[in-house]
Amino acid sequence: MPQLMPFYFVNQISFTFLVLLSLIFVLSKYILPYFVYLFVTRFYITVLN
């Protein structure tokens, strides 16, 4: 039914945003900070040498 199209769109966009927002949360909270720690540690080791 064509009048139901907006609901399909809402479903699609909700799933996309749900996944993208959880991805941003997981990456920025748990994964990317370790990259920074790692880079900073390597930098200090290089400087100390």
């Binding site: 479903n11 966009i13 996309t16 945003f17 990317l32």
Partner: protein
């Protein structure tokens, strides 16, 4: 009847309908499923590559670290040295688009970015957030963005109109570029493969002759993989450029 556009159809895998709660209906579609699949792939890749946080990198972590470094470099060079707060967003966006494009290159898989509403929804949301960011940062001075510096006063009404149209066109062009590239590439592959399967199944002689167009077809698949990378890169680069415009106003 075979249609090359069948592959972009969003179908419901299973749904939950509750007529008591005002005809509440929630459905897991193939698009939703592939969104979760993309999330699992990205998360899994990061878990594999974390290398127990060792200082000496493994093969996977070298790949991931150089990947991260190139995105970080893009954000730094585009937005600014002290604007790394935008890095997780750009990094996630790039990975989401890249992995959904690459997953769709595997035969019989669904392309999340071939949905117009997903791409346009992403680009319109980014456009609105960037405009809100610019308005909160610069207030009324944001509107000076539409007047190019040093233009004669007589030309200002015309130029403001042009700049305004080009500014609003960003919201559509960003998503449309990605959507059109993915849909066009996948449709082309579907059409060519339907020709090839007919040629391959004709006779032995035609089978060997068809190996020549098949080589071309393989090259087009390589091109599609390159398009997956390029479109993800272009999308995130343009998002960086829009954030830069919102931060510095020219």
């Amino acid at each position: 009847m075979f249609s090359p556009l069948d592959q972009f159809e969003t179908i419901s895998l299973f749904s939950l309908a509750a007529p008591i709660l005002g005809n509440f209906n929630i459905a897991l579609t193939n698009l939703g499923f592939y969104c979760f699949l993309v999330f699992v792939i990205i998360f899994g890749f990061h878990v594999i590559s974390n290398n127990n946080l060792a200082l000496v990198p493994s093969h996977y972590s070298i790949a991931l670290e150089s990947f991260f470094a190139s995105i970080a470099n893009m954000v730094r060079s585009q937005i600014g040295e002290n604007k790394e707060i935008y890095l997780p967003f750009v990094y996630s966006l790039f990975l989401f688009i890249l992995v959904s494009n690459l997953v769709s290159n595997v035969p019989y898989n669904f392309a999340v970015t071939s949905s117009a509403i997903v791409c346009l929804g992403l680009s319109v949301t980014i456009f609105l957030s960037v405009t809100i960011l610019a308005l909160t940062k610069h207030g009324i001075k944001f509107f000076s963005f539409f007047v190019p510096s040093g233009c004669p006063l007589a030309l200002v009404p015309l130029l403001v109109l042009i700049e305004l149209i080009s500014y609003f066109a960003r919201s559509v062009s960003l998503g449309l570029r990605l959507f059109a590239n993915i849909v066009a590439g996948h449709t082309l592959l579907a059409i060519l493969s339907s020709f090839l399967i007919k040629l391959f199944s004709t006779s032995i002689l035609v089978f060997f002759v068809t190996l020549i167009p098949f080589a071309l077809f393989t090259a087009i698949i390589g091109l599609e993989i390159a398009v997956s990378f390029i479109q993800a890169f272009v999308f995130s680069l343009l998002v960086c450029s829009y954030i830069k415009d919102a931060e510095y106003l020219h």
